[in-house]
Structure formats: C-alpha cells, structure tokens
Subunit: 598 residues, 2 copies
C-alpha cells in the first residue's frame, strides 16, 4: 500500500538526520527514550490514524455536524477515533510519566500528531483544542482549577475550546464585548456572544471547558482590559462531580466550505444571567495567557496545513505513477503505448512544487517543535532563552507559510488528477477545501504579517532576528563546503542579505513612528521573509542529502531532496527580490489607494 | 443596491472607451445597431440574470443534479431561467436578423453573456454548450443536419453538448476508443464511453444533440483518425418529428467540488448496438471541426472564469466597505470607533489585486471578442486574416490566464470576509469552488501551455506573434506621450523585450527538433507570456484613464484604473523575469527529475 499520510523515509530523514532527535535522549527529561521508543510511538500513531481517523474523513465531510435540539450531533465514527487517540496516550504525549504521560519531546509528539492531521483534520481538532486548553490551565490556573478542570481533561473526560471571536469584532480582540461580573463568591457571571468556536459543542466528552476572553467591569479599554475565564458547559461541584448545565447555549452551527467534521459553533453565554465562570490568572492579563495557547495553536495550525498538503501530494504522486496518458512531446508515434503522466515534464513540475512546499514546511514545523523542546530542556539558560526568542520570531511564519503554500500544493494535486481531481470521488478536492481554513483561523495572514513586522522583529532588541540570521549564515557556511550546492546557496545568500537591509530600514521607520508606511506592505514582507526561512530549511536539507549521498546509500531519496531544494531555491526564491524592492522603496500603491477609487 | 454581477461603469469604459464598440456600427453587418441598441441588450441581460439566474445559484449548489431512473433531475428553477434566456433571444444574439437573431457583434453579446456567467455558472452552461454545438453544425453540417438538428437548436427546443473525453484517455484525444461503424444507409452506429459530459442529460429541452468524437473503422492512428458525429438523445425522423430514444444511456453523474448546477455525465453510447450517429464534415477531420467549437468554448471558459472572479471581487468590496473592524496602525486609541476594513492597507492590497486580475482579464476577454468580430466584419481581407492570427495566438491565454488568476481573486475574496468567507452563508466560497473547474476543463493549463508554445507561436510563420508585438509596441508608443505612465510602461517594455528574445530562442530549438527541452517549461512560458498580455491590456486601460482624466470627469473611476494598472505592472509583472531567465537557461529542473526520486 502506498503511503497516504506522510512518507516514513522522509520523517526518519527529518528526525534522525536533519534534526537529530536522538541527541534529545541525552537530556535528563528524555533519558528513558531512544530511537526505538520514538519509532514505537510513531508506529502507534500511524496505525491508529490509518485505522480510526482516515476511514471516516470523507463521511465526516459529507455529513457535517447537525444542530438538533440545541446540541451538535456528529457522525458515530468520531468518538471511537478520539477514544483510540486518548487510549494510546497521545493527549498527554508530552506530560510527565508520573501523571500518566509519555514524556516525549515535542519534536516526536508533533510528528506523531502529524499522522492524525493528515488522516482527518476534522476529527483531530477535538483533541487538539483540548490539549491547548489543558496546557493553558496547567500554566495559569489555580490548584482548584487544576483539580476540577485540568485533571479530567488529562484523563480525556473533559474536552476544551478557545472562545475569542465575537460577531462584531473579528480579529480585533480589543473590541470584544463579553462581560464578566464578579458574583461575590469568587466566581463570575459572563454575558456575551462568541462565534466560530471550533469544537464548541459535541457529545464526545462528559463536559466541555471553554477558555473564554471577556472584560471585567473595571477593565481598561482595549487589549489591556481582557481577562481569561474558564466557562464549563456543565458546572462542576467542589467534589469534582458534574453539576447542572451552565448557562451556555449553542445558538447555531456554521456551515463551512471544508473542515466540516469539526463543529464551528455560535455560543451564547449568560442569556439567563446564570453563566458561571472562573477567572484564570490575573485580571486584565487574559490576552497574554491566551497567547500561550495561541502560539501553540499556531504551530499546530501550520503543521495541519502541511499535512493536508502532504496527503494531497502523496495521493497525486501515486496517481501520476499509475495513470497512463499521452506521450512525451519527442514521441510522435501514435502506436506507442501511453506513458504514465509522471513522465510529462509539466506533471513533474507540479509534483516537484508540491514536494518543495510540503517537505519544506514539514521541516520547518518540526524544527519549531525542536526549538520548543530547547526552550524547556536545553542544557543551559542561554540556550533556552535563545530558543524561545527564535521560536517567537518564527511562529508567524510557521503558521502562515504552510497555510498559503500547502494550499497551493493542494491546488496542484487537483490539477494532476484533472477532471477526476475536481470530483468528490477522489480525496484531493477535500484537502483543498479543508486547507482553505488555515490562512484564516488562529490569526489571518494579515494578522501574522503584522505580528512579524510590527512586533516580533523588534522584540528583545531584535534578538530573535540576530539568532535567525546567524543560523542562516551557519547553514550557508556549511553548504559552502559542498561545491554541488553553490547554485542553491547563492540565491539564498543574496536574498537574505537584501532582506536584512530592508528589515533594518523598516524597523528604523517604526522606531521613528512612521507606522502606517512601514506596515503598509506587511504581506510582502511576510512572504519574502517566509521564503527566506523555507529556502534556508531547504539548504539545510540539501546539506544532509549531500552527506547521505557521500555515504552511498539511497541515492534516489537524496537526489529527490536535492532536486526539490533546487526547485525551491532557483524557481521560487528569486522572484522575492521584487517584493523586497517594493518594500525598500516604501511603495505606497496599496496605502494610497482610496476607497472611492474602487 | 450594490452591483453584484459586474460594474456597469467599467463595462461602459471597456465598450465605449477602450474597445470602441460604436465603431462597429459603421460596418454593414451592424449598421442597424447603435450604442442605444447595445445598451438595451445589456440591460435586458442584466435584468434576466438578476431575476432568474442569480436567485437559485446557491440552491443549485446545494441540490446538485440527481440520478433518478436513468435520468438527471435538476432543481425546478433552472428551466424558467433558461427559458427566459431563450425568450430574450440571447441564444441567437449573433445570428442574422432574418433567422430571428439579434445580429449583435460578439463584443456586445459576450458582454451580455457575462452577466449570466456572473450570476450562475451552473445554469449558464446549458445554453452555452448549445450555442457551441449549434455553431459547429452551422459551419460543418449538411443541409439535412441543419434542418433536423440546427433549426430546433436555434429555436431553443434542442440543446447541445460536446462529448470528447473518455475514461482512459483524458486530454489525450489521440487515444479515444469510441468507434463508429457505417450502417450502410449513410448513418453510423457508435459504441463507446464518454465522461465529464457537461449538460450530458437533463429535461430542459425536447432533445439533446451530442457532438461526439469517434473513430471510423479505417481511421489512421492518432488525432488524424478522429471524426465528428451528431448523436441525438432521441432519434429524429426525416419529417423532423421526434423518434424513439437513441441508444445513449446515462451511466451516472459525477459529483463535483463546485459548478454543481451543471450535470457532468458519464454516457454510454451503443451498449445495445443501436446508437445512431451522423457524420459531420469529412471523415477523419473531426478534431479540426471540434477545434472551432473548442476555440469558442475556450474564450467562453476564460470569460466565465473572469465573471466568477468579478462577482467575488464586487462582493468582497462591498463587504469591506460595510464591515467595521479594528483601527489603522497609526491609531492606538482604543476609544476611537472601528474603521471599515477597507481602510486597512492589507485589505486594500487584496482588493487591488482582485481588481487588477478581474478587470485585466475582463478587458482581454472582450478584446478577444472584438477580434472575433474583426475576423468576420473587418473592412478588408488583410485585417480579417490578421485578426484571426492574433486571436488564434491569444486563445490559450484568454482561456488559461483568467482560470488561474481570477481563481486567485476568489481566494482573496474569501480572505477579506475572514471566517465568514469560509462559510456557505456567504457566496464567495462557492465562486471559489466553481472557478476551480476552469483551469481543468476545455484543455487544462498544461494543454494550453503546449498549444501556445508548441503550436500557436510558430503558426503562419509567427504572424500572430508579430502582430501582437506590434500591438504592444503601439500601446507603449502611445503611453509614452503620457509622462505619468512612464513607471507603468517601462516594466512592460523590459519584460516584452526579454520575452521576444526567449521566444525566438525556444522556437529555434523547436525548429531544430529539440522538442523535449524546449517544451519542458511551457508552464513558465505561458505565465510570463500571459502576464505580458495582461500588462499590455492594463497599459491600454491606463492610457484611456489618462484621457478620461484630461477630460475632467469621474476622477475617482479613472484614478482607480491607474492604481490597479500600477499594481499589476509594478507588483505582478517584474517577478516574471525569473521565469524568463529559467527559460533562457533551458533550465532542466523538472525535465531531469526522475520518477524514482520522488
């Protein structure tokens, strides 16, 4: 059977050649692990994904959750899949052994999780959101909150959500209107409406723990007045038993273009004035807390986008190998047999572009997970701090680049299948529809570009940027020892050099208060910056491919890596010079466009 | 009410400023027409599209045709819409007055038709395919065929299809297996299977006339052995009355990602050996005949792609004007009211890109229609021949460019609406799904790129290319009289110069038989060539905008045109230099990629 979720050889390349997962086993936290235990976890993830998640991916799309008597009804295949996931321990893959976790590095748990994301984006969202909410309570919650809410989440009995968006405010969280009044007993009464709440209702778990952003009566205006609350679907008694329904009402479901397996809910909090909530962390500090969850979620969203792209790539690759059609242009003999379409140069182009996008983004996602491990377990504090700085800087790219380019990969997968790809008889059109959500949720592309250019670059005096540039220079230096890589390295060096200049100039503008002009073309900046990052990761992969070739094994695999690196670095990277030229010139085509001119 | 189909001011700009539709009324064929009669036809098209087509666009998507007892069942709103279209005479918009036609120029009839394409792509396909099939019989059919099949099509009683694709052959028509045996009485018996037949079954008309490609027993191999047949769903007696069902069976329906309103059928011809067909034109000349229909269809597909993009653009524009959210980055006061999102530079970018794509492609589609008029009605033979040469060259671009970039426009429209855009409560996600078909049907992007580079460029000794280059040079020369346009003209001149050099080099390779290498990167060529063409059309629009400004009216409209031209020519055009550099270097990244390396 061909691989349909991800390519195990490529996964091994990433883990054990590029990112050196085995080195992590030298650290105390992972000392009981080894390549064997990593591979065992990966094998389990793969088989559960194949057995429980993949089979109902299409059915969940065709039978989206239904609103019945105030509840969301899912197809029956979702629960056994989620249960198998819980049973195998993936919800607590990173938690300590002594609370029942697997104590895996994030690098490995993300790789495990990737299998579920590839198999079924819709069903995977339920545990994904639960993990994020649990981590949030673990970091910021009180002991009581941990006992009453976190513990049953760890046990897989309660699920979680994040409830941020409101109908009138969208991305502008400063303007949320949901209110939380102190009830006098340490709890709060919430009142407001939230929309697009993924996993906002279902009956997969005994209870649902909504992590809700709301404002206290004395809240200062804007984002500095946002607080974070736990609002359970069912109230929880002090002895941890379930109480009555809380005043949280499922107002309706959204009907999406794709990703239909996940309920997207409109929730009304406190229509009856009886919505009990619990403040998490300090008053007015809710956004900072939520950002922990969002940053994790953004890496997860990026990986989700990668895996939809990856699944489409592998499907179209297999199709291209099997499907005979036409002849190469230098063969005019109509009696000759048709060739598999993979023999056509333009089909190879579409496969190579997909490979470059999905394997480049896959590498970046796992690299980010590796950095996350370093933030907790690197041998010294400096290394931990630096990992955090670099991860903070890269987060908008990890989220947005796969969302844009792995969607493009899905578009190409459809194209390779032609008319068939456009029908619902094949899976690629669903991947495309599912993936179209990723540039929108957890912060749109526009939000990510402002986060990068307007916030992350200057953070810590530009520490993250310096680290990134140093890492890129290190890769280029190592690449320079392989003459075969000169033609791949040079376009990257040229672009990164120019990017540095443009970055300093834009940061200078920002420092001088020229905010509107400096941020006007943030989308161009995000694109060029993201391409540099992915180009760097491809050069890194290319170095390891050269090493692999020198060792003399698996020529085909490594030659494919080199060809994809060449594609990305020479076809996709150089056009970014125009983006940088526009940024350099502070081009105001968009900024100066007037509403009345449209 | 905001415009949702297309912008009437922009249509008037195209017809009466850029493309000088009124000049056509100087020609004998259109002498009875005037701007008033043109506008009356356009107004009728608009009101029928708004009244009968737009209202069931979503319903047709939600209730796709169902296979019931061997027939395709459509929702009931389709027939009244198609009937209103027929009644108003749009099926015969170009035909002579004396056969009941409107004798309109193609320029105007395409503009009329564009309203239906914007309102409802699915329902519009039925008359669209009928028009193509009717034109085919008109050109190549015998008198008897015209009497028995064309006449009832003109009357709107019979509908038409084109049946080319077979399950095993896809784009490779050389390999079709459908056979046609002479029955001895001048008719044929067909046997074979066709798939993806749009409008392949329905009950909108008394009969369906399938234009079928098949091979005669003595057919030479390959495309030179393909013949064209009329195969009616119901046989037709010599007195033009309907006979019994022909042996054409609806084997099933395809379930598509979008464009669901149009049945996509699998048809079995001759399962019982009783499928009667009639040879159209000469034996083995079927592909040449079919190309007439396909060339018309390709322009129609291009315009269809434009109109889906256009509808999405207008919707997202209106949304961006109405939706308050956030503040511009230079305003940090959380007490200030939220601004409409159109005030955000990144939203302006997404609107400007859409405007550049859809109005650029709209101009090109109408320009092609104007050329089509010239092929029939230009004052002298030379002008007619030249119009045909230029139109032939441009056809792959007219088909493929909007299919790629107006789909991109739809992607941006969703992004502007954010989470809402991803739901089926808003129309933009359907436009995106519908438009994804256009890069596939009527010749994929890959087929168009080979048609351009491998066939059209060299046709007639490169006559079309010379005409195009001359037209572009003429536009640049006129633009040079407007100093304001220097920054727009220069990037086009630079790219076109380089394109010419690359083109000659590639044609040289082809002439020397280096076919595989020369065609390996045909996709890059199509993209760069297409961008030059659209860039040229934008410069042409910019000149007319400058003239409009000099006349002192409607500053906003013309300034918007200039800004969109600036966006396209300075943001989108320069990156094509990398494509041309790769072509110049005969880059073999794709060609040399091996199947085993993936």
């Amino acid at each position: 059977m061909p691989d349909t979720l991800l390519c195990p050889r490529n996964l091994a390349f990433e883990l054990y050649e590029v990112l050196d997962a085995e080195a992590l086993t030298q650290r105390p936290r992972f000392a009981e692990h080894s390549r064997e235990t990593f591979d065992a976890a990966l094998g389990t993830a793969r088989s559960i994904a194949e057995k429980y998640f993949a089979p109902h991916n299409r059915k969940a799309d065709e039978h989206e959750p239904r609103y019945v008597d105030g509840r969301a009804e899912l197809i029956e295949e979702v629960k056994p899949a989620v249960d198998a996931f819980l049973q195998a321990g993936f919800l607590n893959a990173n938690r300590d052994f002594d609370v029942g976790g697997m104590q895996l590095p994030s690098l490995v748990s993300q790789a495990c999780f990737a299998h579920f994301q590839a198999a079924n984006a819709g069903t995977t969202a339920y545990p994904f959101l639960t993990m994020g909410a649990a981590n949030l309570i673990e970091t910021f919650g009180s002991d009581d909150q941990k006992r009453l809410f976190l513990q049953p989440m760890i046990e897989g009995r309660y699920f979680g959500t994040m409830a941020l968006t409101e109908p009138h405010a969208g991305s502008s969280l400063a303007d949320i209107r949901t209110r939380a009044e102190p009830a006098g007993d340490g709890t709060y009464r919430l009142k407001g409406n939230k929309i697009f709440i993924s996993g906002g209702d279902h009956e997969l778990s005994e209870n649902i723990v909504h992590m809700v952003l709301a404002k206290l009566p004395d809240a200062p205006p804007g984002v500095k007045g946002i607080s974070l609350f736990i609002v359970p679907k069912y109230r929880v008694n002090q002895d941890a038993s379930l109480g009555p329904r809380n005043d949280v009402v499922l107002a309706g479901l959204f009907h999406k273009m794709g990703w239909r397996g996940t309920t997207s809910a409109a929730l009304n909090f406190g229509d009856q004035g009886q919505c009990v909530g619990y403040l998490v962390g300090q008053p007015h500090q809710g956004l900072a807390c939520m950002f922990q969850m969002m940053n994790e979620a953004r890496i997860g969203v990026g990986m989700g986008a990668v895996m939809l792209g990856y699944a489409g790539y592998l499907y179209s690759l297999e199709y291209a190998r099997q499907r005979p059609q036409g002849r190469t242009p230098d063969n005019k003999d109509p009696h000759s047999p048709a060739v598999p379409i993979i023999a056509h140069s333009d089909v190879k182009r579409m496969l190579l572009a997909q490979k470059a996008y999905v394997e480049g983004a896959f590498d970046l996602g796992l690299y980010a997970a590796r950095l996350f491990d370093d933030t907790h377990t690197a041998p010294d504090t400096t290394a931990r701090t630096q990992a955090q700085q670099l991860l903070d800087l890269l987060t908008p790219v990890v989220k947005s680049w796969p969302s844009a380019y792995c969607l493009k990969a899905n578009e190409l997968a459809i194209q390779i299948l032609g008319g068939h790809g456009y029908t619902r008889e094949y899976p690629v059109e669903q991947y495309y529809r599912d993936n179209r959500l990723n540039p929108i949720h957890e912060g749109t592309e526009g939000i990510q570009s402002l986060d990068l250019l307007g916030r992350k670059l200057a953070q810590g005096g530009g520490a993250g940027l310096k680290l990134l540039v140093r890492s890129m220079a290190g890769t280029c230096e190592r690449a320079s020892h392989h003459p075969n890589l000169d033609a791949l390295r040079q376009p990257l060096e040229q672009l990164v050099n120019r990017l540095q200049g443009v970055t300093l100039a834009l940061l200078g503008d920002l420092a001088q208060g020229k905010v509107a002009g400096a941020l006007a073309n943030s989308a161009l900046y995000l694109k060029a910056f993201g391409h540099c990052v992915i180009g760097w990761r491809w050069l890194e992969q290319a170095i390891h491919a050269e090493v692999g070739l020198l060792n003399g094994n698996e020529r085909d695999f490594y030659l494919g890596k080199l060809q994809a690196a060449r594609y990305f670095l020479t076809w996709e990277l150089p056009p970014c010079h125009n983006d940088l030229a526009l940024l350099q010139a502070r081009d105001d085509t968009c900024l100066s466009m007037q509403e009345g001119w449209f």
